[in-house]
Protein backbone atom coordinates (compact mmCIF):
# COMPACT_ATOMS: atom_id res chain seq x y z
CA UNK A 1 0.00 0.00 0.00
CA UNK A 2 1.03 3.60 -0.52
CA UNK A 3 1.55 5.12 2.92
CA UNK A 4 1.87 8.79 3.79
CA UNK A 5 4.55 9.98 6.19
CA UNK A 6 1.89 10.22 8.90
CA UNK A 7 0.85 6.62 8.31
CA UNK A 8 4.47 5.49 8.42
CA UNK A 9 4.81 7.32 11.72
CA UNK A 10 1.75 5.51 13.10
CA UNK A 11 3.25 2.20 11.99
CA UNK A 12 6.48 3.13 13.73
CA UNK A 13 4.49 3.53 16.93
CA UNK A 14 4.78 7.30 17.20
CA UNK A 15 1.07 7.59 18.05
CA UNK A 16 1.11 4.71 20.46
CA UNK A 17 0.73 0.95 20.34
CA UNK A 18 -3.06 0.95 19.96
CA UNK A 19 -2.96 3.15 16.84
CA UNK A 20 -0.12 1.06 15.41
CA UNK A 21 -2.09 -2.17 15.86
CA UNK A 22 -5.18 -0.52 14.42
CA UNK A 23 -3.31 0.50 11.27
CA UNK A 24 -1.76 -2.96 10.91
CA UNK A 25 -5.25 -4.47 11.08
CA UNK A 26 -6.50 -1.99 8.49
CA UNK A 27 -3.58 -2.87 6.20
CA UNK A 28 -4.47 -6.56 6.45
CA UNK A 29 -8.03 -5.65 5.45
CA UNK A 30 -6.59 -3.56 2.63
CA UNK A 31 -4.79 -6.59 1.20
CA UNK A 32 -8.06 -8.50 1.00
CA UNK A 33 -10.03 -5.58 -0.42
CA UNK A 34 -7.37 -4.50 -2.88
CA UNK A 35 -7.13 -1.00 -1.39
CA UNK A 36 -4.05 0.92 -2.49
CA UNK A 37 -4.19 3.74 0.04
CA UNK A 38 -6.04 5.27 2.95
CA UNK A 39 -8.42 8.19 2.92
CA UNK A 40 -8.71 10.61 5.88
CA UNK A 41 -12.08 10.60 7.62
CA UNK A 42 -13.94 13.16 9.70
CA UNK A 43 -16.32 11.02 11.74
CA UNK A 44 -16.78 7.45 12.97
CA UNK A 45 -19.95 5.70 14.08
CA UNK A 46 -19.35 2.33 15.70
CA UNK A 47 -21.21 -0.61 17.16
CA UNK A 48 -19.96 -1.75 20.54
CA UNK A 49 -22.07 -3.55 23.14
CA UNK A 50 -21.73 -6.66 25.26
CA UNK A 51 -24.41 -8.65 23.41
CA UNK A 52 -22.42 -8.70 20.19
CA UNK A 53 -18.90 -8.37 21.59
CA UNK A 54 -19.08 -10.97 24.33
CA UNK A 55 -16.34 -11.54 26.86
CA UNK A 56 -13.69 -11.74 24.14
CA UNK A 57 -14.63 -8.29 22.87
CA UNK A 58 -14.71 -6.87 26.38
CA UNK A 59 -11.18 -8.20 26.98
CA UNK A 60 -10.08 -6.60 23.72
CA UNK A 61 -11.46 -3.21 24.75
CA UNK A 62 -9.88 -3.53 28.20
CA UNK A 63 -6.50 -4.15 26.53
CA UNK A 64 -6.99 -1.25 24.14
CA UNK A 65 -7.87 1.10 26.96
CA UNK A 66 -4.81 -0.07 28.90
CA UNK A 67 -2.68 0.75 25.86
CA UNK A 68 -3.98 4.30 25.99
CA UNK A 69 -6.13 4.10 22.85
CA UNK A 70 -7.59 7.52 21.89
CA UNK A 71 -9.90 8.46 19.04
CA UNK A 72 -8.33 10.71 16.44
CA UNK A 73 -11.72 11.91 15.11
CA UNK A 74 -15.19 12.37 16.60
CA UNK A 75 -16.64 8.92 17.24
CA UNK A 76 -20.17 7.99 18.31
CA UNK A 77 -21.80 4.71 19.26
CA UNK A 78 -24.65 2.77 17.75
CA UNK A 79 -27.64 1.48 19.71
CA UNK A 80 -26.72 -0.82 22.54
CA UNK A 81 -28.27 -3.86 24.19
CA UNK A 82 -29.27 -2.53 27.61
CA UNK A 83 -31.44 0.37 28.79
CA UNK A 84 -30.14 0.69 32.34
CA UNK A 85 -33.41 2.18 33.56
CA UNK A 86 -35.41 -0.82 32.31
CA UNK A 87 -33.03 -3.76 32.50
CA UNK A 88 -34.43 -5.25 35.68
CA UNK A 89 -37.99 -5.04 34.41
CA UNK A 90 -36.84 -6.58 31.10
CA UNK A 91 -35.29 -9.51 32.94
CA UNK A 92 -31.80 -8.85 31.66
CA UNK A 93 -28.82 -10.59 33.19
CA UNK A 94 -27.25 -8.49 35.96
CA UNK A 95 -23.74 -9.81 35.25
CA UNK A 96 -24.07 -8.73 31.60
CA UNK A 97 -25.45 -5.37 32.70
CA UNK A 98 -22.31 -4.85 34.79
CA UNK A 99 -20.14 -5.81 31.79
CA UNK A 100 -22.01 -3.33 29.61
CA UNK A 101 -21.22 -0.57 32.10
CA UNK A 102 -17.55 -1.59 32.10
CA UNK A 103 -17.52 -1.63 28.30
CA UNK A 104 -19.00 1.87 28.15
CA UNK A 105 -16.31 3.10 30.56
CA UNK A 106 -13.57 1.75 28.26
CA UNK A 107 -15.12 3.42 25.22
CA UNK A 108 -15.43 6.74 27.03
CA UNK A 109 -11.82 6.51 28.19
CA UNK A 110 -10.86 6.40 24.50
CA UNK A 111 -12.86 9.53 23.78
CA UNK A 112 -15.86 7.75 22.22
CA UNK A 113 -19.12 9.74 22.53
CA UNK A 114 -21.62 7.12 23.66
CA UNK A 115 -24.71 8.39 21.85
CA UNK A 116 -26.27 4.90 21.66
CA UNK A 117 -28.23 5.54 18.51
CA UNK A 118 -28.70 3.92 15.12
CA UNK A 119 -30.16 7.19 13.76
CA UNK A 120 -27.04 9.33 14.20
CA UNK A 121 -27.84 10.71 10.74
CA UNK A 122 -31.11 12.17 12.03
CA UNK A 123 -29.90 13.42 15.38
CA UNK A 124 -26.12 13.69 15.71
CA UNK A 125 -24.08 14.28 12.57
CA UNK A 126 -24.97 14.88 8.93
CA UNK A 127 -21.91 14.59 6.67
CA UNK A 128 -21.90 16.60 3.45
CA UNK A 129 -21.57 15.56 -0.18
CA UNK A 130 -18.27 13.79 -0.76
CA UNK A 131 -17.27 13.68 2.94
CA UNK A 132 -15.45 10.50 3.91
CA UNK A 133 -16.67 8.82 7.11
CA UNK A 134 -16.44 5.34 8.66
CA UNK A 135 -19.87 4.25 9.83
CA UNK A 136 -21.74 1.14 11.00
CA UNK A 137 -24.55 -0.07 11.33
CA UNK A 138 -25.53 -0.77 7.78
CA UNK A 139 -28.63 1.45 7.94
CA UNK A 140 -26.45 4.43 8.83
CA UNK A 141 -24.04 3.69 5.98
CA UNK A 142 -26.67 3.46 3.27
CA UNK A 143 -28.25 6.71 4.50
CA UNK A 144 -24.86 8.48 4.49
CA UNK A 145 -23.97 7.30 0.99
CA UNK A 146 -27.38 7.77 -0.56
CA UNK A 147 -29.15 10.71 1.08
CA UNK A 148 -26.13 12.84 2.05
CA UNK A 149 -23.80 11.79 -0.76
CA UNK A 150 -21.14 11.16 1.87
CA UNK A 151 -18.81 8.19 1.48
CA UNK A 152 -18.58 5.15 3.71
CA UNK A 153 -18.28 1.39 3.52
CA UNK A 154 -19.87 -0.89 6.07
CA UNK A 155 -17.49 -0.51 9.00
CA UNK A 156 -18.22 -3.11 11.62
CA UNK A 157 -17.14 -2.63 15.25
CA UNK A 158 -13.42 -3.46 15.11
CA UNK A 159 -12.97 -1.76 11.73
CA UNK A 160 -14.75 1.40 12.88
CA UNK A 161 -12.72 1.49 16.09
CA UNK A 162 -9.52 1.08 14.09
CA UNK A 163 -10.61 3.96 11.86
CA UNK A 164 -11.34 6.07 14.94
CA UNK A 165 -7.86 5.44 16.32
CA UNK A 166 -5.99 6.11 13.07
CA UNK A 167 -8.30 8.80 11.65
CA UNK A 168 -8.47 7.10 8.27
CA UNK A 169 -10.04 4.22 6.43
CA UNK A 170 -9.28 2.19 3.34
CA UNK A 171 -9.97 3.76 -0.03
CA UNK A 172 -12.13 1.17 -1.79
CA UNK A 173 -15.79 0.43 -2.33
CA UNK A 174 -18.09 3.40 -1.81
CA UNK A 175 -15.20 5.80 -1.22
CA UNK A 176 -14.45 5.64 -4.98
CA UNK A 177 -16.62 6.93 -7.82
CA UNK A 178 -16.71 3.67 -9.73
CA UNK A 179 -18.84 1.84 -7.17
CA UNK A 180 -21.25 4.71 -6.59
CA UNK A 181 -22.88 4.50 -10.00
CA UNK A 182 -26.25 2.79 -10.24
CA UNK A 183 -26.28 -0.79 -11.46
CA UNK A 184 -30.02 -1.31 -12.09
CA UNK A 185 -33.21 0.73 -12.11
CA UNK A 186 -36.42 0.41 -10.11
CA UNK A 187 -39.57 2.24 -11.20
CA UNK A 188 -41.93 2.91 -8.33
CA UNK A 189 -45.48 2.60 -9.60
CA UNK A 190 -47.04 2.06 -6.20
CA UNK A 191 -48.35 4.69 -3.81
CA UNK A 192 -46.20 4.41 -0.67
CA UNK A 193 -48.23 5.57 2.32
CA UNK A 194 -46.35 4.30 5.33
CA UNK A 195 -42.78 3.58 6.42
CA UNK A 196 -43.69 -0.11 6.24
CA UNK A 197 -44.43 0.33 2.51
CA UNK A 198 -40.98 1.84 2.03
CA UNK A 199 -39.45 -1.02 3.93
CA UNK A 200 -41.41 -3.49 1.80
CA UNK A 201 -39.88 -1.90 -1.31
CA UNK A 202 -36.46 -2.37 0.27
CA UNK A 203 -37.27 -6.02 0.93
CA UNK A 204 -38.42 -6.64 -2.65
CA UNK A 205 -35.35 -4.99 -4.16
CA UNK A 206 -32.81 -6.20 -1.61
CA UNK A 207 -33.91 -9.81 -1.39
CA UNK A 208 -33.64 -10.27 -5.14
CA UNK A 209 -30.23 -8.55 -5.44
CA UNK A 210 -28.05 -9.65 -2.53
CA UNK A 211 -24.84 -7.91 -3.43
CA UNK A 212 -22.89 -5.23 -1.59
CA UNK A 213 -22.03 -3.55 -4.88
CA UNK A 214 -25.55 -3.55 -6.34
CA UNK A 215 -26.83 0.05 -6.42
CA UNK A 216 -30.51 0.50 -7.31
CA UNK A 217 -31.71 3.70 -8.98
CA UNK A 218 -35.30 4.49 -7.94
CA UNK A 219 -37.34 6.65 -10.25
CA UNK A 220 -40.90 7.44 -11.27
CA UNK A 221 -42.21 8.12 -7.78
CA UNK A 222 -44.99 10.67 -7.81
CA UNK A 223 -44.66 11.92 -4.23
CA UNK A 224 -41.98 13.37 -2.01
CA UNK A 225 -40.31 10.89 0.33
CA UNK A 226 -39.72 12.05 3.90
CA UNK A 227 -36.52 11.37 5.81
CA UNK A 228 -38.18 8.52 7.76
CA UNK A 229 -39.34 6.95 4.48
CA UNK A 230 -35.79 6.95 3.14
CA UNK A 231 -34.56 5.66 6.47
CA UNK A 232 -36.81 2.58 6.25
CA UNK A 233 -36.09 2.09 2.55
CA UNK A 234 -32.34 2.20 3.15
CA UNK A 235 -32.41 0.05 6.28
CA UNK A 236 -34.36 -2.64 4.42
CA UNK A 237 -32.11 -2.54 1.34
CA UNK A 238 -29.06 -2.91 3.58
CA UNK A 239 -30.68 -5.66 5.59
CA UNK A 240 -32.17 -7.82 2.82
CA UNK A 241 -29.65 -7.00 0.10
CA UNK A 242 -26.49 -6.14 2.03
CA UNK A 243 -26.57 -2.96 -0.06
CA UNK A 244 -24.71 0.20 0.91
CA UNK A 245 -26.12 2.75 -1.53
CA UNK A 246 -29.15 3.67 -3.60
CA UNK A 247 -30.05 6.59 -5.81
CA UNK A 248 -33.48 8.23 -5.85
CA UNK A 249 -33.92 10.44 -8.89
CA UNK A 250 -34.69 14.02 -7.95
CA UNK A 251 -34.15 13.29 -4.26
CA UNK A 252 -30.61 12.09 -3.55
CA UNK A 253 -27.70 14.37 -4.49
CA UNK A 254 -25.97 12.14 -7.01
CA UNK A 255 -29.16 11.43 -8.96
CA UNK A 256 -30.45 14.49 -10.80
CA UNK A 257 -31.56 12.03 -13.52
CA UNK A 258 -31.57 8.29 -14.18
CA UNK A 259 -28.70 8.74 -16.64
CA UNK A 260 -26.61 10.70 -14.15
CA UNK A 261 -27.23 8.14 -11.43
CA UNK A 262 -26.11 5.34 -13.75
CA UNK A 263 -23.04 7.36 -14.75
CA UNK A 264 -22.99 6.01 -18.29
CA UNK A 265 -23.54 2.41 -17.25
CA UNK A 266 -26.20 0.23 -18.87
CA UNK A 267 -28.57 -0.95 -16.13
CA UNK A 268 -28.46 -4.70 -15.66
CA UNK A 269 -32.20 -4.76 -15.06
CA UNK A 270 -35.24 -2.48 -15.13
CA UNK A 271 -37.40 -3.50 -12.20
CA UNK A 272 -40.93 -2.19 -11.65
CA UNK A 273 -42.74 -2.25 -8.30
CA UNK A 274 -46.50 -1.82 -8.27
CA UNK A 275 -49.23 -1.90 -5.64
CA UNK A 276 -49.83 -5.61 -6.21
CA UNK A 277 -46.20 -6.34 -5.35
CA UNK A 278 -46.60 -4.60 -2.02
CA UNK A 279 -49.83 -6.46 -1.31
CA UNK A 280 -48.00 -9.71 -1.96
CA UNK A 281 -45.33 -8.74 0.58
CA UNK A 282 -47.90 -8.17 3.33
CA UNK A 283 -49.83 -11.30 2.37
CA UNK A 284 -46.65 -13.36 2.41
CA UNK A 285 -46.19 -13.45 6.18
CA UNK A 286 -47.37 -16.50 8.01
CA UNK A 287 -49.50 -15.53 11.00
CA UNK A 288 -48.43 -18.65 12.84
CA UNK A 289 -50.88 -19.49 15.59
CA UNK A 290 -52.23 -15.92 15.56
CA UNK A 291 -50.28 -14.80 18.63
CA UNK A 292 -50.62 -10.99 18.58
CA UNK A 293 -49.10 -10.09 21.94
CA UNK A 294 -45.87 -8.42 20.84
CA UNK A 295 -45.66 -5.27 18.73
CA UNK A 296 -42.35 -3.48 18.24
CA UNK A 297 -41.48 -0.06 16.81
CA UNK A 298 -37.72 -0.28 16.49
CA UNK A 299 -34.87 -1.06 14.10
CA UNK A 300 -34.12 1.75 13.36
CA UNK A 301 -34.89 3.81 16.46
CA UNK A 302 -37.83 6.19 16.17
CA UNK A 303 -37.33 9.77 15.06
CA UNK A 304 -39.18 12.61 16.78
CA UNK A 305 -41.75 12.66 13.97
CA UNK A 306 -42.33 8.93 14.34
CA UNK A 307 -42.75 9.42 18.10
CA UNK A 308 -45.33 12.12 17.45
CA UNK A 309 -47.25 9.92 15.04
CA UNK A 310 -47.27 7.02 17.48
CA UNK A 311 -48.51 9.34 20.21
CA UNK A 312 -51.38 10.45 17.95
CA UNK A 313 -52.28 6.85 17.11
CA UNK A 314 -52.12 5.61 20.72
CA UNK A 315 -53.91 8.64 22.18
CA UNK A 316 -56.84 7.54 24.40
CA UNK A 317 -56.14 3.90 23.64
CA UNK A 318 -54.38 1.18 25.63
CA UNK A 319 -52.20 -1.79 24.83
CA UNK A 320 -54.30 -4.94 25.26
CA UNK A 321 -54.16 -6.85 28.53
CA UNK A 322 -51.36 -9.42 28.31
CA UNK A 323 -49.76 -7.74 25.28
CA UNK A 324 -46.46 -5.89 25.08
CA UNK A 325 -45.58 -2.95 22.89
CA UNK A 326 -42.06 -1.55 22.72
CA UNK A 327 -40.80 1.68 21.19
CA UNK A 328 -37.07 2.34 21.04
CA UNK A 329 -35.37 5.67 20.48
CA UNK A 330 -32.27 7.53 21.57
CA UNK A 331 -31.79 9.73 24.62
CA UNK A 332 -32.06 13.03 22.77
CA UNK A 333 -35.35 12.17 21.12
CA UNK A 334 -36.79 10.62 24.25
CA UNK A 335 -35.97 13.80 26.19
CA UNK A 336 -37.75 15.89 23.55
CA UNK A 337 -40.65 13.46 23.42
CA UNK A 338 -41.02 13.83 27.18
CA UNK A 339 -40.98 17.63 26.95
CA UNK A 340 -43.52 17.60 24.16
CA UNK A 341 -45.85 15.17 25.90
CA UNK A 342 -45.55 12.34 23.33
CA UNK A 343 -43.84 10.05 25.82
CA UNK A 344 -46.56 10.59 28.41
CA UNK A 345 -49.28 9.67 25.92
CA UNK A 346 -47.44 6.50 24.95
CA UNK A 347 -46.73 5.49 28.53
CA UNK A 348 -50.35 6.12 29.51
CA UNK A 349 -51.29 3.77 26.70
CA UNK A 350 -49.10 1.06 28.22
CA UNK A 351 -46.28 1.32 25.69
CA UNK A 352 -42.78 0.62 27.03
CA UNK A 353 -40.27 3.22 25.90
CA UNK A 354 -36.70 1.98 25.71
CA UNK A 355 -33.80 4.42 25.46
CA UNK A 356 -30.52 3.89 23.62
CA UNK A 357 -31.30 0.37 22.42
CA UNK A 358 -32.78 -1.43 19.47
CA UNK A 359 -35.14 -4.30 20.21
CA UNK A 360 -33.31 -6.89 18.14
CA UNK A 361 -30.01 -6.43 19.95
CA UNK A 362 -31.41 -6.59 23.49
CA UNK A 363 -29.29 -8.68 25.80
CA UNK A 364 -31.13 -11.87 26.77
CA UNK A 365 -33.69 -11.64 23.97
CA UNK A 366 -34.15 -15.37 23.43
CA UNK A 367 -34.78 -16.10 27.13
CA UNK A 368 -37.06 -13.02 27.19
CA UNK A 369 -39.06 -14.47 24.29
CA UNK A 370 -39.37 -17.81 26.06
CA UNK A 371 -40.30 -16.26 29.41
CA UNK A 372 -43.08 -14.22 27.82
CA UNK A 373 -44.25 -17.01 25.55
CA UNK A 374 -43.97 -14.72 22.53
CA UNK A 375 -44.21 -16.54 19.23
CA UNK A 376 -45.00 -13.78 16.75
CA UNK A 377 -43.45 -10.33 16.56
CA UNK A 378 -45.33 -7.65 14.63
CA UNK A 379 -43.58 -4.49 13.44
CA UNK A 380 -43.77 -1.70 10.90
CA UNK A 381 -40.04 -2.13 10.24
CA UNK A 382 -39.13 -4.40 7.36
CA UNK A 383 -35.59 -4.47 8.71
CA UNK A 384 -36.45 -5.84 12.13
CA UNK A 385 -38.77 -8.51 10.79
CA UNK A 386 -35.81 -9.75 8.75
CA UNK A 387 -33.10 -9.43 11.32
CA UNK A 388 -34.56 -11.01 14.44
CA UNK A 389 -35.01 -14.55 13.12
CA UNK A 390 -32.11 -16.12 14.98
CA UNK A 391 -34.10 -15.58 18.17
CA UNK A 392 -36.83 -17.74 16.62
CA UNK A 393 -39.60 -15.19 16.41
CA UNK A 394 -42.13 -15.61 13.63
CA UNK A 395 -42.21 -12.07 12.26
CA UNK A 396 -44.92 -10.09 10.51
CA UNK A 397 -44.68 -6.72 8.73
CA UNK A 398 -47.69 -4.45 8.96
CA UNK A 399 -48.26 -0.71 8.34
CA UNK A 400 -48.02 1.54 11.40
CA UNK A 401 -51.78 2.04 11.89
CA UNK A 402 -52.38 -1.70 11.82
CA UNK A 403 -49.50 -2.29 14.23
CA UNK A 404 -51.12 0.08 16.72
CA UNK A 405 -54.48 -1.68 16.29
CA UNK A 406 -52.85 -5.07 16.82
CA UNK A 407 -51.15 -3.79 19.97
CA UNK A 408 -54.45 -2.49 21.34
CA UNK A 409 -56.72 -5.36 20.25
CA UNK A 410 -54.35 -8.33 20.32
CA UNK A 411 -55.91 -9.47 17.07
CA UNK A 412 -53.92 -10.36 14.02
CA UNK A 413 -55.25 -10.26 10.48
Amino acid sequence: MELTSEERAILAGQRGEASKRALEYQMELGKFCGAKRFVPITNVHMMGDIEVMGDAGLRYLRDEAALGARCAVSTTTNARCIDFAQCERMGQDSAEVAKERELIDYLRSMGVITTDTCINYQTVYQPHLGEHVAWGDTGTVIYANSVFGARSNFESGPAALAAALTGRTLEYGFHVDEHRRGTFTVRLDAPLRDVADWGAVGKLVGESHQDYYAVPVFHGYAGVPMADDLKHLGAALASYGSMAMFHFVGVTPEAPSVEAALGGRQPSEAMVIGAADLERVYAGYSLGDGDARLVVFSGPQQSLLEMRRLAELFDARHVAEGSSCFVTTNGAILAQARKLGYAAVLERAGVTLLEGVCFYILQNLTPMRRANGWRNMVSNSAKIVNIIGAHRFNTILRPTVQCVDIACRAELK
Binding site: Y25, E28, L29, K31, F32, C33, G34, M47, G48, V52, M53, G54, D55, A56, G57, R59, Y60, N78, G136, D137, T138, N153, F154, E155, S156, G157, P158, A159, A160, G173, G206, Q210, D211, Y212, A238, S239, Y240, G241, S242, M243, Y360, T366, N386, I387, I388, G389, A390, H391, R392, N394
Partner: protein, 149 residues
Amino acid sequence: MSVGFDQGATVLLRVERAFGPVVEGEAVVSEEGFSPRYDLDRWSGIITKPGHKLEGVSIKDKVCFFPTAKGGIAAGWAFNDLKGKSIAPKAFIFGIANPVMVQGAIFAGITITEGWDRHPREIIRTGDWVRVDPESLTIARVQLRGDAR
Protein backbone atom coordinates in the same frame (compact mmCIF):
# COMPACT_ATOMS: atom_id res chain seq x y z
CA MET B 1 -5.74 -42.13 10.40
CA SER B 2 -5.16 -38.45 9.88
CA VAL B 3 -4.89 -37.07 6.40
CA GLY B 4 -1.96 -34.76 5.76
CA PHE B 5 -2.49 -31.52 3.87
CA ASP B 6 -0.73 -32.74 0.78
CA GLN B 7 -2.06 -36.25 0.52
CA GLY B 8 -4.80 -37.32 -1.81
CA ALA B 9 -6.50 -33.95 -2.16
CA THR B 10 -8.27 -32.83 -5.33
CA VAL B 11 -8.47 -29.12 -6.04
CA LEU B 12 -12.13 -28.35 -6.63
CA LEU B 13 -12.47 -24.61 -6.38
CA ARG B 14 -10.38 -21.59 -7.05
CA VAL B 15 -11.23 -18.47 -5.09
CA GLU B 16 -10.45 -14.84 -5.82
CA ARG B 17 -9.38 -13.45 -2.45
CA ALA B 18 -8.40 -15.10 0.78
CA PHE B 19 -7.05 -14.54 4.26
CA GLY B 20 -5.91 -16.78 7.06
CA PRO B 21 -4.12 -20.02 7.76
CA VAL B 22 -4.57 -23.27 5.86
CA VAL B 23 -7.43 -25.17 7.48
CA GLU B 24 -9.23 -28.47 7.03
CA GLY B 25 -12.72 -29.31 8.09
CA GLU B 26 -16.11 -30.73 7.29
CA ALA B 27 -17.92 -28.77 4.58
CA VAL B 28 -21.33 -27.22 5.10
CA VAL B 29 -22.69 -26.05 1.76
CA SER B 30 -25.52 -23.54 1.93
CA GLU B 31 -27.92 -22.43 -0.76
CA GLU B 32 -28.77 -19.41 1.34
CA GLY B 33 -26.69 -16.43 2.46
CA PHE B 34 -25.54 -15.86 6.01
CA SER B 35 -25.39 -13.34 8.80
CA PRO B 36 -24.44 -14.23 12.37
CA ARG B 37 -27.01 -11.72 13.65
CA TYR B 38 -29.90 -12.89 11.48
CA ASP B 39 -29.35 -16.60 11.35
CA LEU B 40 -27.13 -17.89 14.14
CA ASP B 41 -27.62 -18.62 17.81
CA ARG B 42 -24.33 -17.09 18.92
CA TRP B 43 -24.35 -19.04 22.17
CA SER B 44 -24.54 -22.51 20.61
CA GLY B 45 -23.18 -22.04 17.07
CA ILE B 46 -26.39 -23.48 15.59
CA ILE B 47 -28.31 -21.82 12.77
CA THR B 48 -31.69 -21.09 14.32
CA LYS B 49 -33.49 -18.74 11.96
CA PRO B 50 -36.79 -20.45 11.16
CA GLY B 51 -36.80 -21.55 7.53
CA HIS B 52 -33.08 -20.98 6.90
CA LYS B 53 -31.89 -23.71 4.57
CA LEU B 54 -29.39 -24.79 7.23
CA GLU B 55 -31.76 -24.47 10.19
CA GLY B 56 -30.54 -26.74 12.98
CA VAL B 57 -27.00 -27.10 11.58
CA SER B 58 -23.97 -26.26 13.72
CA ILE B 59 -21.19 -24.22 12.14
CA LYS B 60 -18.69 -25.04 14.88
CA ASP B 61 -15.39 -26.23 13.35
CA LYS B 62 -16.98 -26.42 9.88
CA VAL B 63 -15.85 -24.99 6.56
CA CYS B 64 -18.94 -22.98 5.66
CA PHE B 65 -19.84 -22.23 2.04
CA PHE B 66 -22.30 -19.35 1.67
CA PRO B 67 -23.30 -17.82 -1.69
CA THR B 68 -23.87 -14.35 -0.22
CA ALA B 69 -23.50 -12.26 2.90
CA LYS B 70 -26.67 -10.86 4.38
CA GLY B 71 -26.79 -7.40 5.93
CA GLY B 72 -25.94 -6.51 9.48
CA ILE B 73 -22.82 -5.13 11.08
CA ALA B 74 -22.61 -7.73 13.85
CA ALA B 75 -20.08 -10.09 12.29
CA GLY B 76 -17.29 -7.62 13.02
CA TRP B 77 -17.36 -8.41 16.72
CA ALA B 78 -19.41 -11.62 16.61
CA PHE B 79 -16.83 -13.82 14.86
CA ASN B 80 -14.31 -12.95 17.57
CA ASP B 81 -16.93 -13.75 20.19
CA LEU B 82 -17.65 -17.13 18.54
CA LYS B 83 -13.96 -17.90 18.64
CA GLY B 84 -13.78 -16.89 22.31
CA LYS B 85 -16.65 -19.31 23.00
CA SER B 86 -14.94 -22.09 20.97
CA ILE B 87 -17.88 -22.36 18.56
CA ALA B 88 -16.38 -20.63 15.51
CA PRO B 89 -16.18 -22.29 12.12
CA LYS B 90 -12.81 -23.18 10.61
CA ALA B 91 -13.45 -21.05 7.54
CA PHE B 92 -16.01 -18.95 5.71
CA ILE B 93 -16.14 -19.44 1.94
CA PHE B 94 -18.29 -16.76 0.33
CA GLY B 95 -19.42 -16.36 -3.25
CA ILE B 96 -20.07 -12.69 -2.59
CA ALA B 97 -19.01 -11.41 0.83
CA ASN B 98 -19.37 -7.93 2.22
CA PRO B 99 -16.85 -5.86 4.19
CA VAL B 100 -18.38 -6.83 7.52
CA MET B 101 -17.67 -10.53 7.04
CA VAL B 102 -14.10 -9.77 5.96
CA GLN B 103 -13.48 -7.33 8.83
CA GLY B 104 -14.86 -9.81 11.34
CA ALA B 105 -12.98 -12.84 10.05
CA ILE B 106 -9.65 -11.01 9.87
CA PHE B 107 -10.14 -9.52 13.33
CA ALA B 108 -10.86 -13.00 14.71
CA GLY B 109 -8.12 -14.71 12.69
CA ILE B 110 -10.64 -16.99 10.94
CA THR B 111 -9.87 -18.09 7.39
CA ILE B 112 -12.12 -16.39 4.83
CA THR B 113 -12.31 -16.43 1.04
CA GLU B 114 -14.45 -14.62 -1.51
CA GLY B 115 -15.36 -15.38 -5.11
CA TRP B 116 -15.38 -18.85 -6.67
CA ASP B 117 -14.92 -20.15 -10.19
CA ARG B 118 -17.95 -22.49 -9.95
CA HIS B 119 -20.74 -22.97 -7.50
CA PRO B 120 -19.59 -25.34 -4.73
CA ARG B 121 -22.85 -27.28 -4.89
CA GLU B 122 -21.69 -28.74 -8.22
CA ILE B 123 -18.75 -30.52 -6.62
CA ILE B 124 -18.85 -30.40 -2.83
CA ARG B 125 -21.45 -31.97 -0.58
CA THR B 126 -22.12 -31.13 3.02
CA GLY B 127 -20.08 -33.64 4.99
CA ASP B 128 -17.14 -33.79 2.60
CA TRP B 129 -13.79 -33.08 4.24
CA VAL B 130 -12.12 -30.11 2.53
CA ARG B 131 -8.94 -28.12 2.81
CA VAL B 132 -8.76 -24.36 2.33
CA ASP B 133 -5.42 -22.92 1.27
CA PRO B 134 -5.56 -19.10 1.21
CA GLU B 135 -2.02 -18.79 -0.10
CA SER B 136 -2.73 -20.75 -3.30
CA LEU B 137 -6.39 -19.54 -3.45
CA THR B 138 -7.64 -23.13 -3.66
CA ILE B 139 -10.10 -25.39 -1.94
CA ALA B 140 -9.49 -29.11 -2.21
CA ARG B 141 -11.48 -32.14 -1.19
CA VAL B 142 -9.53 -34.46 1.07
CA GLN B 143 -12.28 -37.01 1.61
CA LEU B 144 -15.76 -37.64 0.33
CA ARG B 145 -18.62 -37.68 2.79
CA GLY B 146 -19.03 -41.11 4.32
CA ASP B 147 -15.55 -42.32 3.38
CA ALA B 148 -13.52 -43.53 6.34
CA ARG B 149 -10.87 -41.16 7.53
